[in-house]
């Protein structure tokens, strides 16, 4: 006799692995996380593709449901860290990375935007790596606290405390200096 829906046995059934199309539904945020971690658009797009490539190689073993998203972002974070290690860059050495976004039509606006970008990069670069990861996953990846905890394999309380400290430090760096206002 098949277990009825809602019974403990039915709930214990392992969810199906996600399809590639489902994973590609997160492409925007995966790209943003890669951008947030590398601060380079071209690298971010390439690393986001690399993330999907790695994910696809193990797609049959992926957890289903919400855990798949957390796993995908964990892969993205590891891909970015590998990339930065290979280049022997200090993670978030943003001020040294060229801004490759398109130039705005107005030269003044373009200058302001570049300054903002560089200032934010510097501010993020001053954050310890553990705080930066949590902040980027939350603000750029738009992950929930639970998903961040899963992605980084840390406790939920740790996520919250790190995120709070990251925001406070970032606000102190960018707002009190007045660079980005």
């Amino acid at each position: 006799m098949m277990p009825e829906q809602g019974t403990p046995r039915a709930e214990a059934v392992k969810p199906m692995p996600p399809s590639l199309d489902e994973l590609l539904g997160h492409s925007r945020t995966v790209f943003l996380v890669c951008f947030g971690l590398t601060r380079n658009r071209a690298d971010a797009e390439d690393l986001a593709q690399e993330t999907y490539l790695r994910a696809c190689r193990q797609i049959d073993r992926l957890p289903g449901g919400d855990a798949a998203k957390a796993w995908l972002f964990r892969v993205a974070r590891n891909v970015c860290l590998d990339h930065l290690r290979r280049r022997q860059l200090d993670i978030f050495s943003y001020g040294k990375v060229a801004d490759q976004t398109l130039a705005a039509g107005d030269p003044h606006e373009d200058l302001v935007r570049r300054e903002r970008n560089a200032a934010l990069s510097r501010a993020l670069g001053r954050l310890p790596r553990r705080l930066r990861e949590v902040l980027v996953l939350r603000e750029y990846g738009e992950l929930s606290y639970e998903q961040i905890a899963q992605a980084l394999r840390i406790e939920l309380g740790t996520v919250m405390s790190r995120l709070h400290r990251a925001r406070r430090k970032l606000a102190e760096a960018v707002l009190k200096s007045g660079e980005l206002r």
């Binding site: 590639l20 590609l24 492409s27 925007r28 790209f31 943003l32 951008f35 658009r41 971010a44 797009e45 986001a48 593709q49 999907y52 490539l53 696809c56 190689r57 976004t101 398109l102 935007r113 903002r116 970008n117 934010l120 939350r138 603000e139 750029y140 919250m160 995120l163 709070h164 925001r167 406070r168 970032l170 606000a171 960018v174 707002l175 980005l180 206002r181």
Partner: protein
């Protein structure tokens, strides 16, 4: 911006949120999810074709463990066989009764013994039975035949000495004292048995 901003003023939190949103919007300006998905699909297709089980570096992961296990098994089997042969060189070499017969035929000692037994020549050896004598003789011959087949020529005196030592009660391979029996009488018995075929039949039964 979502989250806990207990120690940030509402204005600071909003400012921070705006800054990050502007940063994200600028980064996303050129990002096209459709084009990105197309690029991903293309890379996945290329990756799968380059990772065919029979091509490229994937081969290492597919075949290497199996090849290593097979090589280890073959090497292990060779070592075991070599050790067994080394421990017992006679193993695997089936003693052929005809070989024994050839040894006997090539031995001048047996050839020189007269066919007619002399009555009473083996008298006085009541502690020996014909069956036991024959058994020891066969074992002694088998031992000698093996040695002969290993390249040692069947020397008359050596063969006779081994047979007589066996007849005296000592195992063929063990050092034996010179028998107290009449060598000629015992050798004659063996010779008669061998010429009548009984020896050969007995050897055949021992195989």
């Amino acid at each position: 911006m979502s989250g806990n901003n207990d120690h940030l003023s509402a204005e600071s939190a909003r400012e921070l949120e705006k800054i990050i949103e502007r940063d994200k919007s600028a980064a996303m300006a050129e990002f096209d999810t459709t084009v990105f998905a197309h690029h991903v699909q293309r890379r996945i297709t290329a990756d799968r074709s380059s990772h065919h089980p029979l091509a490229g570096h994937r081969l290492r992961y597919v075949l290497r463990p199996g090849a290593l296990v097979a090589a280890a098994m073959v090497a292990g089997a060779i070592v075991v066989v070599a050790l067994v042969v080394r421990v017992d060189p006679s193993r695997g070499r089936r003693t052929d009764p005809k070989m024994i017969a050839r040894v006997l035929a090539g031995c001048e000692f047996f050839a020189s013994i007269p066919l007619d037994p002399q009555p009473g020549s083996v008298a006085g050896e009541s502690h020996r039975t014909p069956a036991r004598d024959l058994e020891w003789a066969i074992q002694a011959l088998l031992y000698r035949a093996r040695r002969c087949s290993d390249g040692v020529a069947p020397v008359k005196g050596e063969l006779a000495r081994a047979i007589l030592a066996a007849m005296a009660g000592a195992p063929p391979a063990a050092p034996a004292p010179w028998p107290r029996v009449d060598p000629d009488a015992l050798a004659r018995r063996i010779a008669i048995l061998s010429r009548k075929g009984a020896f050969l039949r007995a050897l055949g039964n021992m195989q």
